[in-house]
Every structure is written in structure tokens, then in C-alpha cells.
């Protein structure tokens, strides 16, 4: 959706800077050509953002009036001194980033002086050991050039799924209540305690990788997993499976029997977006209604399953309709205070904050001042990831997704979309392929410190030498058998984008893939036997 709008603007004359280790379609495709492609080495994002900032500061390209009026000047001065240091110059960082200094300088000048400048970023920013630092660096750059708080500018994170924003808004983090309020905040916690009639903890909970660690030491025993396939999507698959195998109760609720469901003790059916009522919230904070067009084939909508489970566990929920859940959200969440289904039906959609002050929502934020008050610049020291190339693992693997498959592919692999993408391939530069005697379509083994897998090669100049790429849409690919437990310092978001690997030509699938094939066959056979037995029982019952 975003890309199609972006391309429309590009065809109308907008200028474009792409920062990506690969030559993606946006760099050059029909009617689209980026002005600059900063083809950086994976893991050097923060070095690149610091170099861009260095040019803006040292070449006098700052939006000083904006900074003076809108930002904390003391913090800005500290940041300005930091990025102006010679070690943050494009020339000093060129050897690490792989991006020619002259290109960085020209791109920085374009962003700072080319009129409205908007930054769009995806998981190529966040899925790094320094993902949070990079987000801060992007915010610094936008403030320094005055590119925030009006139409056509801003910092725009593109979400990985359609309702990531909505999930975050509703407190799906283990440390927050809805509306991004920390669990240690007494006023917020008391509000929920009174409304729910419960005593609530003031400490944060575990994040997913921490859950696996806790499972391995025996202190985490149960998991309720809704609409997510952690066995396929999370890094270091063998570690994930080892953790799941220690748990006493795994409940999976999903549309399909996905990879995680093969380790579940209980499976609850999920309902698709066509079978349920509710809301989705997209990356521009826009809350939109989702309306069911058919009754759930499983008999219950997702929210009804959660209510039934809660009732069975001893906490009765009394919602009769999803609109009543939204009423509770509005009652307990100041930024949603004015949201209700009648308003959504009347307006079509609403962007939060929506409250007495902004009864029809807030299309633009940070117009005259930042929500926190003065904009705060923070130093973003580049810290190279621990995942470094070595003689044993001389290449860097970066993983990603493609347009025709949706994440782990549980839904799209069942459609004709497989004609666009029927298997996960390893993209490798011709030079790296030649050094290894690898040709197009050859089977290649990819090994990292976490594990091994085998894929077919695609030799392509979309890659830069020294960097390989694959997707993780098919479980038998085992792409996440290779990725490691490295994660972001602040959020623990896995570092999917940087794994040191070796690639060699092979003739057989990996040991993990052989084991997976046998395990999968067993699971499917057991399922078939169960279904047949169930059918027989039903017949006998009649």
C-alpha cells in the first residue's frame, strides 16, 4: 500500500534515497529510479545515519530555527558536537559501511535541502542489535532538518503486519498498558485494577526470547500463542523448539495447523478477518472497522474464544459484542477516549489521539510542539554488532520477505501466490558464487554458529559481494535455523538482518531438514489418523 503511493509520488517527480544492502526494486524499476542508493554493509545503519548527520551539521544544512523553537537546545548541542566529530564523517566510516563518502554527502544535502523530506523505514531498521539506536538516529535527523510536524514530512515506520500498530496500542508489550503507559505507573495500574476488580503486577513481563530462556531453566511452563508461528518466524529455530519441548501447556489458536501447532497440547481454531468484527489500526494510527462477511467457520470469533478461555480460567468477561470491548478501551485509555463504533461508522476511520480535545481524531501529530514537550536529541554511538565475519563464516546473511508471500506463508502458501514464489532461495553475488563453484539452481549449504540449512542458489547482482539473502516463507527452508540469538539492546527484537555464514555447494539437504521432514511426516500422519478416528467415532455416535 505504502509503496504504491510512494511510487505515484516518484512518478510525479519526488526524489528518492534508498538505504539498503540489496539493489531492491525501488532502486531501479520501470518509471522509478532512486537518486541515490546507499548500499551499506548489513549492520552499519547507525554508522550511515551518523555520517548523514555529520554532513548536515558540518556543512551548515541544519534547520536552526526549528531546532531553536522546538527542541531541547542543550541536548541538541551535545548531539551536534558528537556527530561533528571526525570519526563520524562519511570518509572515516566509509570503510565500515561500504558506502562511498561522496554519495553520503550528496544524499545528506538532498534530504536537508530538497524541500519536504519524509523517512519511511521497515524491519531493515529495527531487526538489528542497534535497531533502537537507529530509530533514535532517524528522529534526530528529522528534527535537525525540520522535517517533522507537517504534511509531507515525518518519520514513518512501516509495520510488518496490518495490525502491528493496533496490537502495540493495546498494550501487547510485556511492560505496558494500552496507550503506552508503563506497568509501574501507579495511577494507570490503579485505573485498571478498579475497572477489572483485580490486583495487577507493577513489574514488566517476559519478552518472547526471554520466555524461551526462562523455559530452558524450568520457570516458564505455559504459552498461549494466537495467530503467530514462532517456530518458523523466530530466530535460532532449534533453541525455540528446545524451549517449547520443556513447556507443560502450549495452546495455539490459529487459522491453520502451523509449525508451532505441531508442538501444542491444545489447538483452538482461529477466525479470519472475513469472519470477525473489530478494528485494525495501521501505521498512521488510523483505526478502521473490520466487519465479518460470514459467520466464523469454527463457530466463534477470536474474541469469543478469548472470553470463553478467560471464563474457564476463573475471570468472567461479560462482553456481548466487540463494540463493548472498544467502550472499555475508550474508558481506560486517554488517547482513545473519543473512539466508539458509532463514530467509526460515521467517519469511516479515526486517527488517534481521539478525545474531547480532538473529537474526530488527529491526522498530524507534533505540529506546534512534540508530545513530550521539547524535542530531545540523543547521541547515537555506532557499536558494531557482535555478529562479525570470520574465516569460518566469511559472508553476511540478511533475511527478508517478498510481496507475494505473507510472513511465514501459513496463509499464502495455500494460494496460487506460490507461482510467484514457490521456494525460498539463497541470493548470492556472481563473484561469491564463482569463488565457490556455485551456479544458478545449485543446492548450497548455509551454515552459521546457530545451525545449517540447504537452499537452491540464485546468482544475482542485486546482492553486493560478501552479502547473501534469503526469505523464510517455507518451513522446510529452515532460514531461521541459521539466524542467531543476537537482539536489539533495548527491545530484544531479533537481529534477523545480520548473521555471519559460510555457503558451499552441496548435494544433500541438511541434517536439520532431514529431521524436520521426518517430524513433519509423523505429525501429519498422526493428524490424519486422529481425523479418521474422529470421523469413525462420529459415525458410531450416530
Amino acid at each position: 500500500m505504502f509503496a504504491s503511493r510512494l511510487k505515484r509520488r516518484l512518478r510525479a517527480g519526488a526524489r528518492l534515497i534508498v538505504v539498503d544492502p540489496r539493489s531492491i526494486d525501488l532502486v531501479s524499476s520501470p518509471h522509478i529510479k532512486a537518486d541515490y542508493h546507499l548500499q551499506l554493509r548489513p549492520g552499519t545503519n547507525v554508522a550511515v545515519i551518523n555520517a548523514l548527520a555529520h554532513v548536515i551539521v558540518t556543512e551548515g544544512l541544519l534547520a536552526q530555527d526549528f531546532v531553536d523553537q522546538r527542541c531541547d537546545v542543550e541536548a541538541f548541542n551535545v548531539w551536534r558536537e558528537f556527530v561533528a566529530r571526525p570519526n563520524n564523517s562519511p570518509e572515516a566510516l566509509e570503510v565500515m559501511t561500504g558506502v562511498p563518502a561522496a554519495k553520503i554527502r550528496e544524499a545528506a544535502r538532498l534530504y536537508a535541502t530538497g524541500g519536504n523530506g519524509a523517512i519511511y523505514y521497515g524491519l531493515g531498521v529495527t531487526e538489528h542489535a542497534q535497531g533502537s539506536t537507529m530509530v533514535i538516529g532517524i528522529a534526530n535527523l528529522a528534527m535537525a532538518t525540520g522535517n517533522i510536524g507537517r504534511e509531507g514530512v515525518g518519520v514513518n515506520p512501516l509495520r510488518g503486519q496490518n495490525n502491528v500498530q493496533g496490537s502495540c496500542d493495546m498494550g501487547s508489550f510485556p511492560h505496558e498498558y494500552p496507550g503506552y503507559r508503563h506497568v509501574s505507573d501507579d495511577a494507570t495500574r490503579t485505573l485498571f485494577e478498579k475497572d477489572w476488580g483485580l490486583s495487577l503486577r507493577k513489574e514488566p513481563g517476559l519478552r518472547i526470547p526471554n520466555m524461551f530462556e526462562a523455559a530452558m531453566d524450568g520457570s516458564f511452563k505455559g504459552l498461549y500463542c494466537q495467530g503467530e508461528d514462532i517456530v518458523q518466524s523466530d530466530p535460532d529455530t532449534q533453541h525455540v523448539i528446545a524451549a517449547l519441548e520443556t513447556m507443560e501447556c502450549i495452546v495455539v489458536q490459529d487459522l491453520f495447523l502451523n509449525e508451532t501447532a505441531k508442538y501444542a497440547h491444545v489447538f483452538l481454531p482461529g477466525s479470519s478477518f472475513l469472519e470477525k468484527d473489530g478494528t485494525f489500526t495501521n501505521a498512521e494510527r488510523r483505526i478502521s472497522r473490520v466487519r465479518k462477511v460470514m459467520a466464523p467457520k469454527a463457530g466463534l470469533g477470536d474474541w469469543e474464544v478469548t472470553v470463553a478461555l478467560s471464563n474457564a480460567l476463573g475471570y468472567p468477561m461479560h462482553y456481548n459484542d466487540p463494540s463493548e470491548i472498544m467502550e472499555e478501551v475508550a474508558r481506560l485509555t486517554p488517547t482513545f477516549a473519543g473512539v466508539n463504533y458509532d463514530k467509526l461508522d460515521r467517519l469511516g476511520s479515526v486517527q488517534w489521539p481521539c478525545n474531547d480535545e480532538m473529537p474526530e481524531g488527529t491526522p498530524l501529530m507534533h505540529i506546534d510542539h512534540f508530545v513530550r514537550g521539547k524535542g530531545r536529541f540523543l547521541i547515537t554511538q555506532y557499536v558494531p554488532t557482535d555478529e562479525k565475519i570470520t574465516p569460518k563464516f566469511p559472508l553476511l546473511l540478511t533475511t527478508g520477505r517478498i510481496l507475494s508471500q505473507y510472513n511465514v506463508g501459513a496463509q499464502t502458501r495455500r494460494t496460487d501466490n506460490v507461482r510467484f514464489h514457490e521456494e525460498d532461495r539463497l541470493d548470492i553475488h556472481p563473484q561469491d558464487a564463482e569463488e565457490r563453484g556455485i551456479h544458478e539452481d545449485d543446492w548450497v549449504g548455509i551454515s552459521s554458529r546457530a545451525g545449517d540449512t540447504v537452499l537452491r542458489a540464485r546468482v544475482t547482482e542485486r546482492m553486493q559481494p560478501g552479502v547473501v539473502y534469503t526469505t523464510f516463507h517455507f518451513p522446510e527452508s529452515g532460514a531461521n535455523v541459521i539466524t542467531t540469538d543476537n537482539s536489539d539492546w533495548a527491545t530484544n527484537c531479533p537481529e534477523y538482518k545480520v548473521t555471519a555464514v559460510q555457503v558451499v555447494k552441496v548435494k544433500h539437504s541438511s541434517e536439520w531438514q532431514e529431521n524436520y521432514r521426518k517430524f513433519n511426516e509423523t505429525q501429519l500422519r498422526l493428524l490424519k489418523e486422529k481425523v479418521v478416528a474422529g470421523a469413525v467415532a462420529t459415525v458410531n455416535g450416530h
Binding site: 551535545v78 558528537f82 542489535a129 542497534q130 533502537s132 539506536t133 510485556p174 511492560h175 508503563h182 509501574s184 513489574e203 514488566p204 513481563g205 517476559l206 526471554n210 530462556e213 526462562a214 530452558m216 531453566d217 520457570s219 547521541i379 547515537t380 554511538q381 557499536v383 557482535d386 540469538d485 537482539s487 539492546w489 533495548a490 530484544n492
Partner: protein, 72 residues
């Protein structure tokens, strides 16, 4: 919990804050980050490990941050 991983996580947090010019504030920020985002058993596991094995593997700023730290 795996102490090696917890030490690495703590040092990664320290690596971000140690670049800040106000060392006292940066040290406080490291402690605050761990308090706000680490589940109590993670905090406790790290402190128990350090009390028996020493804190040689920690960055200075993390060691200072944890000095006044009271695990939940």
C-alpha cells in the same frame, strides 16, 4: 536464566548509554532501563550470578549501575 546471555544483554544496554557525556545520568539510565524492561526473574538471576561469580564480565557503566541495584 542463562547468566551469559543476561550479562551480554546488560552490556549491550551499557554500550548505548556509555556514549552519553553525563556519566552519572547515563549510569542511572542503565539501571532504570533494566528495572523498567527486565522481568524480575531476569534481574534476580543476574544479581545472584554476579554475587557468586563476580562482575568481571560487566562493562564499567553496568557495574556501577548495578551497585545500588536491588533486584525485585
Amino acid at each position: 536464566m542463562n547468566a551469559e546471555h543476561l550479562i551480554k544483554m546488560a552490556n549491550d544496554i551499557g554500550a548505548f548509554f556509555e556514549a552519553m557525556p553525563n556519566r552519572e545520568q547515563a549510569t542511572k539510565d542503565v539501571a532504570t532501563h533494566i528495572r523498567k524492561f527486565w522481568e524480575p526473574r531476569m534481574q534476580k538471576s543476574l544479581m545472584v550470578y554476579l554475587s557468586t561469580h563476580g562482575d568481571a564480565g560487566l562493562k564499567d557503566i553496568v557495574r556501577d549501575a548495578l551497585r545500588e541495584f536491588h533486584p525485585a
